[in-house]
Symmetry: C2
Subunit: 157 residues, 2 copies
Amino acid sequence: MAEELLTVGDVAGRSGFATSAIRYYEREGLVGATRTAGGQRRFDRSVLRRLAFIRAGRNVGLTLDELRSALDSLPDSRTPTKADWQRLSRQWRTRLDDEIAALVTLRDGLDSCIGCGCLSLQHCRIQNPGDVAAYIGSGAVYLPDRLTDQRREDPAK
Amino acid sequence: MAEELLTVGDVAGRSGFATSAIRYYEREGLVGATRTAGGQRRFDRSVLRRLAFIRAGRNVGLTLDELRSALDSLPDSRTPTKADWQRLSRQWRTRLDDEIAALVTLRDGLDSCIGCGCLSLQHCRIQNPGDVAAYIGSGAVYLPDRLTDQRREDPAK
DNA sequence: GTAGAAGTTGAAGCCCCCTTTAAGTCAAGA
DNA sequence: TCTTGACTTAAAGGGGGCTTCAACTTCTAC
């Protein structure tokens, strides 16, 4: 018997993403799908791993663009191995380290602000955390709201 | 002679905010302004301190709603003192501590993920950082892009 | 064969925080 | 007085990441 394929609904149920999100990811080229004769999407199980990667990456603060690039770097010719996934997620560690360092710098600056109460536009470190910005670099960096929004949408509703 | 009042352009030059942002903040009730007979805004110098507070707060990740609430808690009857500003910004310290703790938890989870390469939807800690979400609470929490976007817009352009 | 659940599309909407644009009005120096 | 730069407004736009809607079509269990 052939491999069983999954519908969007199946994928939604197993991944925790809404069907609309999964369709959006397909449109955006983050996941692939075949079609039935009638035009409905059918997904290989391997999409679940990609979606797991996407969810984890979003939690770390990566944009869909970055995730697409990362996923595009996976080999076409063979099923990605554990080592492939490790290679991609290892970079996140650095990213988180940088974000943490940025926040610590900001907090330390804030401490001195609280002490002086100045909020000076010229001097206050919380006003001008240039070193923080430089540390972080130019990419979009943020602690994702997703983190505060962990309740997965109910697929039964 | 009476106190000199500032135009939006003056305020923009001194605060580093764009004039459009300052007008927006006035519409949203974060800062006040009087009007000339001709309908132009005139700002008291005290607006600069409020804007400094707003910029710092945005850097820490507060929304304009939260900043409005904070600013509304300042006494109407007298000029806010250093102690008033300190009271408000002291809360940010806790907030940053929480954000840092959340990121550290996430990073530690990621370490184990890199180790196992699983990205399991059921088990992976980076997939389900429920403890992190619980720690942070329900408010919107994020490391603002603003931090990565520190170059102030040129008021002369 | 058919009901009804689940799938399809494109377009529009949302949220937050502003920026941009268009079409004009005001203020201040020469 | 006149010129010119700065100001005014309402309305629309943008970006990221989806969600929602309307109006169908397809699939599957009975």
